[in-house]
C-alpha cells in the first residue's frame, strides 16, 4: 500500500527530475512554443517541495491536493492550471484514505487525466501532455514500470503530430517534427512515480 510518505517522495522525485530536465524542456518549448516550460515547472515543483516539507499532509489525497494548489499558484501559463488540476483531481479521487493500492492510484489518476482533458479541451493526438498521460494511465494498471514506458513512448509519439491545442497550435504544420514539451514533462512526472515505487522496493 502507498501512504502519504510515498506520495511525498513521488512529488520530491518529480521536483528533482524537472529540475534536472528543465533546460531540455525549455529547449523543446523553444521549437514550437515560447521557451519557458522548463523554468515554469521548475519554479512550480520547487514550491511544491517547499510546501510539503513545511507541513507534510497526512494522506495521499492531501499530498496531491496541496501539490496541485501550489502548481496553480506558482506556475502560470497553461501548465499551472493543467498540472494543478491533474494532481488536485487525482488527490480528490483518492479521498481521505491513509494508504491506497497501486490500482487505486491508477484509477484516481485516470480521473485526474479526464479532468485535464475537460479543462484544456484536448484529446489524444492533439500533441499535448495527454498524449503521455492517457497511455500511462492505461499501463499503470499493469505496473509502474509499464506506466513509465508508456508515457515516454507517448511523448516520443508526439513528434510527427500537428499541434491543435496550446501555443504550438498557432504554428500549424510547422509544429510537426518536434516533440511536445508538455507530453515530455508529463512523462517525467510518471517516471518519477515509477522511480519512487522502485526505490521503495518494487511496490508495483
Amino acid at each position: 500500500m502507498l501512504d502519504a510518505g510515498f506520495f511525498h517522495r513521488w512529488m520530491t522525485a518529480a521536483a528533482v527530475l524537472v529540475d534536472r530536465e528543465a533546460a531540455h524542456l525549455t529547449e523543446l518549448d523553444s521549437a514550437i512554443g515560447d521557451a519557458d516550460h522548463g523554468s515554469n515547472l521548475q519554479r512550480g515543483f520547487a514550491a511544491v517541495s517547499a510546501a510539503l516539507a513545511k507541513e507534510p499532509p497526512q494522506t495521499p489525497g492531501a499530498v496531491l491536493a496541496l501539490a496541485g494548489r501550489q502548481l496553480i499558484s506558482t506556475v502560470g501559463g497553461a501548465s499551472g492550471p493543467l498540472y494543478g488540476t491533474l494532481l488536485r483531481r487525482t488527490g480528490k479521487a483518492l479521498g481521505d484514505a491513509a494508504a491506497v493500492s497501486p490500482a487505486d492510484l491508477a484509477r484516481a489518476l485516470g480521473e485526474g487525466v479526464a479532468a485535464v482533458s475537460q479543462l484544456g479541451g484536448a484529446q489524444a493526438g492533439d500533441k499535448t501532455m495527454l498524449d503521455a498521460l492517457l497511455p500511462a494511465v492505461e499501463a499503470l494498471g499493469t505496473s509502474f514500470a509499464a506506466g513509465r514506458d508508456a508515457a515516454a513512448a507517448g511523448a516520443e509519439a508526439t513528434v510527427p503530430l500537428r499541434a491543435r491545442k496550446g501555443r504550438a497550435s498557432y504554428l500549424g504544420e510547422r509544429s510537426v517534427g518536434h516533440q511536445d514539451p508538455g507530453a515530455t514533462s508529463a512523462a517525467l512526472l510518471i517516471a518519477a512515480l515509477a522511480d519512487t515505487a522502485e526505490t521503495d522496493g518494487g511496490a508495483a
Binding site: T26, R43, G77, S79, G80, P81, K165, G166, R167
Partner: protein, 330 residues
Amino acid sequence: MRMLINVPETVVADALRGIAASHPGLTVDVENRVVVRRDAPVAGKVALVSGGGSGHEPLHAGFVGPGMLSAACPGEVFTSPVPDQMVRAAAAVDSGEGVLFVVKNYTGDVLNFEMAAELAEEEGLRVEQVLVDDDVAVTDSLYTAGRRGTGATLFVEKIAGAAADEGAPLDRVAAIARRVNESSRSFGVALSSVTTPAKGSPTFDLPAGELELGIGIHGEPGRERRAMMTSGEIADFAVNAVLDDLRPSGPVLALVNGMGATPLLELYGFGGEVHRVLRERGVVVARTLVGNYVTSLDMAGCSVTLCQVDEELLRLWDAPVETPALRWGR
C-alpha cells in the same frame, strides 16, 4: 547575449520596482505582482483588470490609470499570471460595481482567468470576462486554440476603460469591450527572434535576409517564412490580410505597433505605407497610433491592428486617458 538585467530570475520584480519608482499614480505590489491605480477603488465605477505574461511592455502595467485599466497582473516572461494575482487585483479595485477581466486568447491566460473568476465570485465579486482574439494569422481556428489576442487588447482596454470611466454598468462595459474585439483584427511580422532572459539565446533561428509572417507576441515562429520584403511590401501583405478578414464598412482606428526592437524611424515609414494601402483599399483612418505598445521583448518587427469604429467607439477612444504609456485629453 547582452541584456540590461541583474539575473533572469528577477527581471519581472526588478521591472515592477522601476515602475513603482517612476509612476506615483500607481501602487505596485512587487511581491504579489499586482499593479493598481493609486485612487482605486473608484466609487461607483466598474473596474477593469487585465494581465498576461511579461515581456509585452508597456502592455499591461503601462495601461493602468484613469480612463483605462484599474489594475494589471504581470506574469513571468511570456507566462500567464496565476489566479491568486488576479483575485488580489480584482479585490483591490472593486468598488462594488463589478470587475471586467480582459483576457487574451492563450490557453494559459484563459485557464488562469477562468479559475480567478470562479474564486472572485466565491468571494462575492461580480466578474465579467472579455476574450481578445484578433490575430488573423491564425486561419483555422477549429484546429488551433483559436485566434491569438494581440494588438486589439489596447483598443479593448482603452475603449472599455473609457466606458467604465463614464459610469457605464458592468454588462454595458463588457458588451462594449466585446464589440471592440469583434471589430478588430491584427497581423504581425517578425524581422528577428526574441531572446527570453531565461533561455538567453534566440527562441527561433531566422537567417539573414528572411522574415516571419504571421507571428504572435511570444517568440513563437510565424506561419510562414519568406525572403525579406520592403516596408511597402510588408504593409501590403499585413494590411490586406487584416482587411480581407475585417471587411470594414466604416472608418478605422489603426495601431502601427513595434515589436520592441524596431526604431520609430522604421515604424513611421511603415505607418505611411499602411496608410497608403488603406487609401488604395478605400478605407478611411479615423485615428492612428504609432509606437511600441504590444511588444515581444527584443523582437524586431511590427504588427498592424485595425478596429472599425462608429461614433460611440470613436468618442470613447478620444476620451481622456492618463497612464504611463497612453495619455491624452487631460
